[in-house]
Amino acid sequence: MLRSTKSGRAALQALVLWGGVAVIIVIGLLVIFVPVGCLIGVSLTSLRGFSSNYSYLGLWNYVEAFRQPEFWRGARNTITYAIGSCIGQTVLGTVMALVLGGWQARTRRAIAIVFFVPYLVVPAVIAVQLWRFLIDPRVGAITLAIHRVTGHETYFMSEGLVMISLIGISTWMFAPFVMLVVSRSIEEIPSRRFEVIALDGGRSADTFRHVVFPAIGPAILGVALLRLVLMATKFDVPYLFLGSGPLSSKFGPTTVLIYELAYERLRYGEASAVGVMMLLTLFLVIWSVVLWQAVRGGT
């Protein structure tokens, strides 16, 4: 009797477990694969805005995208923007975390919150507006300060500087995220390790090289990969910063191109094809890093 109750309970537990897994898979299918499937489906058609009529085009939208210089320009801008801002955020965020690491725990957390809260609560539209104002060639505080020091006018929105400005703003906006992640991994280093290296007469550089860096390395790599993907798919900051003029056409990343194709030209099929290619590229990048890590025996 007791055995049958136990086996019944085990069966129930298994049912609950596998039922839960099944529910997660179904939700996953609905939330991820169905929309992606629809995107791929639309990318194979001539679907346009304000119309339900369309025809099957096969891979024509993909071929057409490859033939357009705008596609390649968008891809180049995406790579520049994503890698540039990812490096900026990772370096700045890590430096911030290391500086914070020297403080007492309570102070460190308080400062971390001060840095992190703006990341959470300042919407892109306000941040971009703020920076556009600060770098205004006539009345911006930054340009006026540079003018006072160097005697030269600086045009941050000029073609030579606009991408650097965009990367700079994105670095400013998202570095606190990196700081939080790296800071957390520093906190997790056992204090014993610091004590050991101190007893051995190690200097700060040795502490960093032998204790801190090995501990935070995986966190930096992980957060850098995450930021790279997030920046490659970023739309709001470049769109708001570049405006709808020529700067957007010349320096806009692929997300801006997708927006233009879908919402300004109503070409859903072509926009979806570019979207699918972007999705596949990011998927490949992520899996390459994951595989590389696995081969190296990392996590």
Partner: protein, 465 residues
Amino acid sequence: MKSQSVWLTHQDHRRPQVSRLPGAGVLLVLILAILGCAKQPSNLVLKVWTTESDPATLKVMEEIGDELVQSEPEIDEVEVVAVPWSDLSVKLQQGFQTGSLPGVTHLEPFFTKAFVDRDLLIPLDSLVQELGPQDIQEAVRDVAKFDGHYWGIPQHFGVSFMAYREDLLARMGVRVPGTWAEFRDASSKLGSGGLPTPVYFPGGDRFFIDAIFFEALASNGGHAYINGLPNFDSPEAVETLAYLKNLVATAPTETWPSATYVEGFPRMVRGEVGFNLFVGGRATKSFAEQWTDQEMAADRIFLPFEPPVGPHGSQGYSSVDCEPFVVINQAKNSGSSAEEGPALENASLAYLRLLYRKDNYLRLMKSVPIQLIPIFKSMAAQYSQTPFVQRWKPWYDQAISMVEARRVNPYFTTSSEDLEIPYLFDLYGSRVITNMVASVMAGDRSAKEAAKIAQRKALAIAEEY
């Protein structure tokens, strides 16, 4: 075992009171919410989308809506929504996808044909006949007339201006230019006189880049389209590109791609700008509000001038702002039911009838004088007596003279007949024209090369239609 039993008894005793009741409550709320969602609203809500963002204009439109609600019991509410014109196509598209299209909306004239072709509008012939087509300014009357039907009625007309600082020009001994050559000279003179931006080109928004190009092309005797096909590599077009490049080269070109339209007003007020290539009538309101010098009246300082004429042209052309109100075909709106659709269309027509009633209409036009000018000739005399219009009379007079002389073209065209072209919407969205102008201005391409590329791309788009 005993303790477990006690624990269970204890819990069983309490659970129905503390856990099930809130659960039942949540379930009841959910059922009621579902029933509430399923219940069809008994009255109509008419949505009116307007590209006018001025609070004074919106207030008048809301008051007209209130009047409609009071006179038509079946209309529950008129909701007036300001949609920036740059977002209009996006919002309409989203409305089409989600079944939440408005009843009445503004459209850009060069969008309208695409909407007609997609059967998204209902004709407004009877309404136009009631208003009297012979009383409507000819330059704007037919901007939404296709296949013999009126699909929209312009809310107003407004003319684009080129503006200058009278005091700055006088101080530097510069005359108001009448030709491109004179304009270049005037600009150079202002630049060499130390003015930071002799000519302000609002290049931060592609709409203005396109508008300035089309105006200049028309003023150089050029045609953007011939027999419905693009004509962007004509000698007139190449000349126009070179002219714009040379004109703006007198100022630091680093700033023009990010220079916004609205930024041009305070910069003129601060005395940094001599000429502004593109301002709407609304600028007068901005100048009046921002100008603080008591000794010199704003309306004597900020003056309009007619677009200078190019070497191949005979007269200058401006753009005409005349967004028509259209009524959405509710059969295409998945959000409105078979019964609701015709009722919404009737409500939309009733709203427009009220809006174009003389008293309401004049009130609407006076909410932003000079920017909003009545399309009805019979109202011109009364409107022109408005104190603000009297104060800024040179602007009003120029608008009237340009419209009456038919020296105005709808945006993105060099002739009102161009509005029949079905691919204008797509061409605008493709940024072919913007990129052509920008690449010349930035020095990336010669005028001839840029025009050739634009022509090839525009032809490819045209061939799809």
